[in-house]
Symmetry: C2
Subunit: 211 residues, 2 copies
């Protein structure tokens, strides 16, 4: 496929879901699928599927459909999942520990290599074999190790202080669980997971203001 | 305001962010703000702000701007945050425990009242004062307690089995951390937090396929 081709954010947001469904198909030994069948499983229209997949050069064959494995591998590459990533997490509390313990990330190539906290009670503890380090060591750690993604799981004021340290030391991706919007240069990607905001979507909806 | 007025999903998705910024303003003693000032803080255009806020009947006054507290209270009501919610979580592992331990939810009126798991090693343990119950007791618990939101933090195959039990017992909101799409009736809201999908947005972006 053509790497210069621009893919819209909306399509990219849907790619992990395609990837998941195609993985399930492979697990079940299904090697080809029509856009109509995929449509029924995914509960999106077949024309949406054809449009999305065409955008990154995956064309189904008339009367055959898509080759599941080829499509899976293509999406894997587009999502960058043919590589591995080193992650560090700042914030070794409950959420930070839960993320480090979650084995699904490693299966996809996302490997936690360090945890940082400033709480003396946490520093020195080990989570899934990874020691919690003093956040004072963050800068020197970044200088001496390849780190691809920084995960922020700490109170918002602290997150604002830590983000610039990540950026100044070359981190290109920030996974932000802290409840604050970060101000970073354009070449740094921030993916926010604002859990409280997500809960509010539910409280809104079950209260009757429904679109 | 008019409760029958339809608000688009896109606007609703932005409301928690308005709510957060307005809360910060109140914390800092700021009682009124123009759409221009809010625009600079939130990094969205002033016209977007005016459009969004007008949609739910909050009109700024020319030369005065918005009354921060009134606007905050209005959004609070729209988001249903003037009420409290009883939550149960199915899946008492690391993620489930982290969610129960996260005090920010209770501050917003989201109270965990029970945790369920099927693992004998977890059943009987206490997390933030809440005992982990046997998932076999889920149905009778739902029959005997008011539960507003069910949180799924368990492997995907188990999530598919548990979701119908929640729905059949009147749960109207499901917060789904399990990596699967749930098939529920239209009157049940599912808010998905697919953490692996979120990470894939970062690996995609730092690999150079940028829009």
């Amino acid at each position: 496929m053509n790497n210069d081709k621009k893919i819209s954010v909306a399509v990219i947001k849907r790619l992990p879901r395609y990837y998941r469904y195609l993985g399930d198909l492979l697990d079940n030994g299904i090697t080809r699928i029509s856009s109509n069948d995929l449509s029924k499983r995914m509960n999106v229209t077949a024309s949406q599927i054809r449009q999305d997949l065409n955008k990154f050069g995956c064309f189904g064959q008339q009367g055959y459909g898509y080759n599941v494995e080829l499509l899976y591998e293509e999406i894997k590459k587009i999502l960058g999942l043919n590589k591995t990533y080193n992650l560090i997490i700042i914030g070794g509390g409950n959420l930070g520990q839960a993320l480090v313990n979650y084995s699904n990330f490693a299966r996809r190539g996302f490997n936690f290599i360090a945890i940082f906290d400033r709480n003396p009670k946490l520093i020195g503890l080990t989570v899934s074999g990874i020691e919690i380090l003093d956040v004072a060591e963050l800068k020197s750690f970044l200088e001496n190790n390849r780190v691809d993604i920084g995960v922020l799981a700490l109170p918002k004021d602290n997150a604002k202080q830590v983000a610039p340290i990540l950026v100044e030391n070359g981190i290109k991706g920030i996974w932000n669980f802290s409840h604050v919007d970060l101000d970073v240069p354009d070449n740094v990607v921030v993916e926010n997971v604002h859990l409280t905001d997500s809960l509010m979507q539910i409280s809104y909806a079950i209260n009757g203001y429904v679109e």
